[in-house]
């Protein structure tokens, strides 16, 4: 009844699976980039760095791996500053280790594992190799400390407007006493929100933890462990097998907010004062001494947010800006669309935030074909829409600046009140920036700024020997199970082994495609899958044997055996599958990792045991002319039953 043509399906699935798994076994090329500043060091220092790398290479990285490194024992040339490492099984943990241990030599954020052809083909160059969790291969651990001082300053800006109004009410002699009392109460309520109790801090950290969790999930890290360290007001993030920690750090720490602030009213008194002073400098031919030039230098040298904030605060003092206003830099590109975004001039905005990022949601980047640039459109929350309408109707003709992080990216004039709860931001964005801005608006910003307290590469929670022994033990176990099956069920056992192998291969390919991070609980899930797959085959053969013993013809016995076993296997697997789905929904970390492998394992098991085993079995009975099937163990089995 079965035809050979059906064999094409499992064959095709296997080919696809092996193709997906190919990057795990392939020869890979890793480019380790040398830091630019190494080349300007004295020769002795260069030598020390290089020998540091190669000592460890001999002892550790390259010892048993069979990897090659070019150029060996020296610095690569300046115009082509990378070491090229070639070999199999270059894990992200190893890449991290090399970068971390040679921090002064290697520019970690630029290291690149060259994608294989298959990754280029189906993933646009994104990695397709199986990731291992922290417990199996170690990874990055970052501890981020909440900066609560900065947080309270932001809060003050947010409430500045309301506080000013309340003070007016209080100081106004015509205010009724009950209104005064109301205002006084509200004022103390606001003041108390600036006072951070330990409880409050934990709540804010919890919020930050959730946002970090979300960000990491979108980074395809399936099991990042994020936890709060109460003693230190810090959040600890463990990232298994992260190969690009600098980029991840940026994602973690990104506290950029998006907010609207009104610019000082026309005729822009303060902006003009600053502008005039800058121009005088230019006329004297002292471009290097202008504030904007100095500020650009700060940015180019990556001096960091603190330095930039201090610089701008210095300007406020220098030009006697009243305390209701703040100096910002207006950022834009140069004349070409490709040039970098840099501060180009100073603007003076109101200190109070007109509309904060909490009032905006659901942002989408889109390409505007009229202005040939990217823009971001977003929806306002109901209360945000109301605020925005009031703001735009009360301040027609004024400029409303959009502040992203600390950058003013545009300050359009308010022509008409904007109602309807939708708005857009257009600036001179690149696609990347538009996406980032949209993400900041959609995900919400971190409630508190975070600074890196420590960042380290840590070892696995399971010792290296345990992993080696564990892997060996599981492999030996598998092998013994297979031998036992062949011993016990002969041809049936062989077919069961075949479908078990196919099962594991398909499962591995599926998990790889899903960017799953394998952890110890995940492996436990795979072991259970294998156990249940073997069990399914055992149930089937026992049934076939019963049919044969009742004296049925072989091909009928096989078919009936499968049919009788079908619902038993279905029931068992579906129930377990439901339990697994519950675990994915309810569980976290370890439970989830286990459940994901289990659920997909059940799917592959059902396919291999109910379809594949049956196909092989029926083909052998109906096509290969096997006339009697003995499903009794060697040496111990009873005499086989007679087939009718």
């Amino acid at each position: 009844m079965q035809s050979y043509r059906l064999l094409l399906l499992p064959f095709f699935i296997l080919v696809v699976s092996f193709t997906i798994l190919f990057p795990n076994f392939a020869d890979r090329t890793l480019n380790v980039v040398v830091r630019e500043d190494v080349y300007s060091l004295p020769e002795a220092d260069q030598k020390a760095l290089v020998s540091g790398l190669f000592d460890r290479w001999e002892k550790d990285y390259g010892k048993n791996s069979g990897w090659t490194i070019e150029p060996k024992g020296s610095l690569p040339p300046r115009e082509n500053p990378f070491y090229i490492i070639k070999g199999r099984f270059i894990t992200s943990a190893k890449i991290n280790q090399i970068s971390q241990e040679n921090q002064n030599l290697v520019n970690e954020s630029k290291n690149k594992l060259e994608p294989t052809w298959i990754e280029n083909m189906i993933r646009g160059g994104k990695s397709l190799s199986i990731k291992l969790g922290l417990d199996l291969q170690g990874g990055m651990r970052v501890v981020l400390k909440g900066d609560f001082e900065d947080y309270t300053n932001k809060l003050r800006d947010l409430y500045a407007k309301e506080i000013a109004e309340l003070n007016l009410t209080l100081n106004n002699p015509t205010t009724k006493p009950e209104e005064k009392e109301k205002a006084q109460n509200r004022l103390s309520e606001i003041e108390s929100s600036f006072d951070l109790s330990p409880m409050r801090k934990i709540v804010e950290l919890e919020k930050a933890k959730m946002i970090i969790d979300n960000r990491l999930t979108t980074q395809n890290l399936t099991e990042p462990q994020v936890r709060i360290q109460k003693e230190q007001d810090a959040i600890e993030v463990s990232l298994p097998g992260v190969s690009n920690s600098a980029a991840i750090l940026e994602i973690l720490q990104n506290t950029e907010t998006v907010e609207y602030r009104l610019e000082e009213p026309n005729p822009f008194t303060y902006k003009t004062i600053i502008g005039d002073s800058e121009r005088r400098m230019m006329d004297l031919g002292q471009r290097e001494k202008t504030d904007i030039f100095l500020f650009q230098e700060l940015v180019k040298n990556k001096a960091g947010k603190k330095a930039q904030d201090e610089f701008l605060a210095g300007l406020e003092k220098k030009y006697n800006i009243p305390k209701d206003y703040k100096v910002y830099a207006m950022w834009a590109r140069g004349n070409s669309a490709k040039s970098t975004l840099l501060p180009r001039s100073f603007v003076v905005l109101e200190r109070k935030i007109a509309l904060s990022g909490n009032d905006m949601t659901n942002a989408q980047p889109s390409y505007n074909s009229n202005s040939y640039g990217w823009m971001v459109s977003f929806t306002l929350t109901p209360s945000g829409a109301e605020k925005f309408f009031d703001l735009t109707s009360e301040n027609r003709g004024r400029n409303l600046a959009i502040v992203w992080g600390d950058k003013v990216i545009s300050n359009p004039v308010i022509n008409d009140p904007i109602a309807g709860g939708r708005a857009e931001i257009s600036g001179s964005f690149s696609e990347q920036e538009a996406i980032r801005l949209a993400n900041v608006i959609s995900e919400g910003a971190l409630p508190i700024p975070l600074s890196v307290l420590e960042m380290r590469f840590i070892g696995p929670t399971l010792g290296i020997e345990s992993i080696e022994v564990g892997v060996k033990a599981v492999a030996i176990g598998f092998f013994l199970v297979m031998v036992y099956m062949i011993f016990y069920y002969r041809l049936g056992g062989f077919i069961a082994d075949l479908s078990l192998l196919v099962n594991i291969v398909i499962l591995a390919a599926l998990l790889t495609l899903m960017d799953f991070t394998l952890t110890l609980p995940g492996i436990a899930g795979i072991i259970l899958t294998a156990g249940m797959a073997v069990d399914a085959n055992v149930i089937i053969y026992e049934r076939i044997r019963e049919e044969i013993e009742e004296g049925r013809a072989l091909s009928i016995a096989v078919t009936r055996g499968f049919e009788n076993a079908f619902w038993t296997i279905m029931d068992a697997n579906v129930t377990t599958l439901i339990a697994g789905i519950l675990m994915i929904r309810l569980g976290n970390g370890p439970i989830k990792g286990f459940a994901i492998t289990l659920c997909w394992g059940i799917v592959t098991t059902l396919f291999t045991s109910l379809f594949l085993s049956r196909l092989f079995m029926e083909l052998s009975v109906n096509r290969f002319g096997i006339h009697h099937l003995n499903l009794r163990p060697f040496f111990f089995g009873k005499k086989e039953g007679k087939h009718a």
């Binding site: 417990d135 462990q225 936890r227 360290q229 600890e236 840590i458 070892g459 696995p460 929670t461 399971l462 010792g463 290296i464 020997e465 345990s466 992993i467 022994v469 564990g470 033990a473 599981v474 030996i476 176990g477 598998f478 013994l480 199970v481 036992y484 099956m485 016990y488 952890t519 110890l520 609980p521 436990a524 899930g525 072991i527 259970l528 294998a530 156990g531 249940m532 073997v534 069990d535 055992v538 149930i539 026992e542 038993t568 029931d571 068992a572 697997n573 129930t575 377990t576 339990a579 697994g580 519950l582 675990m583 309810l586 569980g587 976290n588 970390g589 370890p590 439970i591 286990f594 289990l598």
Partner: protein, 312 residues
């Protein structure tokens, strides 16, 4: 077909299980005051040290045992002899008093627990500063919410099994499977408490695996009982149960045996940190198989008898 009488021992096995669970929990809470502490659940101190080549895991373990410090020792790198030491929070007082025993001139004054522990290690194992690669106070990986999640998970899973099996077969079988499943979990928890095994992420994985294995095993056995009982409502259920269990015995032995092969391989292989994991799994396979035959089947029979009496 031979027929083995399994249900004969039902009162014995049911009482045995019940007493074993009670005994395990009584010992756990009276003698030890609860389950063992562990870094994964309670947080603690974690240090990574590079020991001189003449020191081994045994040296570390002997030292900690002699001083009554709860510690988990993990060998991270063989060649460099690098160990990771996890110290439970319960041992902080011990560490403090040991730290005070270090001669004044051999120690730096420190107030934090982790510093004291590092001083202690350096003093005991003659470690220069640079050989202590890292030392941190770590929080729990799995917070208190895990117990809550675990219980919610178990209850929902049980509800689902009850529902699904009631639809697919009969309520008495569904109920018996669910009770047997609870029995397996309680039995394993009683063992973990009784032996004071440190709860950790691998242990959770083992518990989940056992849960899955146990569900699978029960359904297979009960499917056969259901099939044999089909349309024979007037027959004594005990007979049908015995026949069915006997029929599935070959499969039960084969499956539990093949599952055990891998687990025993881990235990024999000597992966120190996986020992507990494999041990719980081994126990789980045995208990899961036992409870399908000696707990779930008799319960369904007793339930059946009670119901028949009611309607008789």
């Amino acid at each position: 077909m031979r027929n083995i009488n399994f249900t004969k021992y039902k009162y014995f096995t049911l009482s045995f299980s019940f007493l074993a669970i009670v005994f395990g929990f009584v010992v756990t809470f009276s003698k030890y005051g609860g389950f063992a502490h562990s870094l994964d659940f309670n947080g603690g101190l974690r240090t990574v040290v590079e020991l001189s080549k003449d020191k081994t895991r045994t040296d570390l373990e002997t030292y900690f045992q002699s001083k009554k410090i709860e510690a988990v020792v993990i060998l991270l790198e063989k060649e460099k002899n690098i160990f990771q030491l996890d110290i439970g929070l319960g041992s902080l007082d011990t560490i403090e008093s040991l730290y005070k025993e270090i001669p004044e001139d051999r120690r730096e004054s420190s107030t934090s627990a982790i510093d004291r522990f590092v001083q202690l290690l350096r003093f005991e194992f003659n470690l220069p500063k640079e050989k202590v690669l890292s030392a941190d106070q770590v929080g729990a990986v799995v917070g208190g919410e895990l117990t809550e999640v675990g219980i919610t998970l178990l209850l929902t899973t049980l509800a689902i099994i009850l529902l699904y099996l009631s639809i697919r077969s009969q309520f008495k079988f569904a109920l018996a499977s669910a009770i047997a499943l609870v029995h397996d979990i309680l039995m394993t928890l009683a063992l973990i408490g009784f032996l004071q095994i440190k709860p950790s992420v691998p242990i959770i994985a083992a518990l989940l695996t056992l849960l899955g294995y146990s569900i699978n095993d029960k359904i297979v056995v009960f499917d056969r009982i259901r099939e044999n009982a089909h349309g024979k409502d007037n027959l004594a259920l005990s007979n049908i149960i015995n026949v069915s269990i006997t029929q599935t015995l070959g499969r039960t032995i084969n499956t539990s045996f093949t599952t055990m092969i891998s687990v025993v391989a881990i235990i024999v292989g000597g992966a120190a940190e996986l020992y507990d994991f494999a041990f719980i799994l081994l126990f789980g396979v045995i208990v899961g198989t036992y409870s399908s035959i000696y707990i779930a089947a008799p319960i369904s029979e007793i339930y059946d008898q009670l119901r028949k009496k009611k309607f008789a």
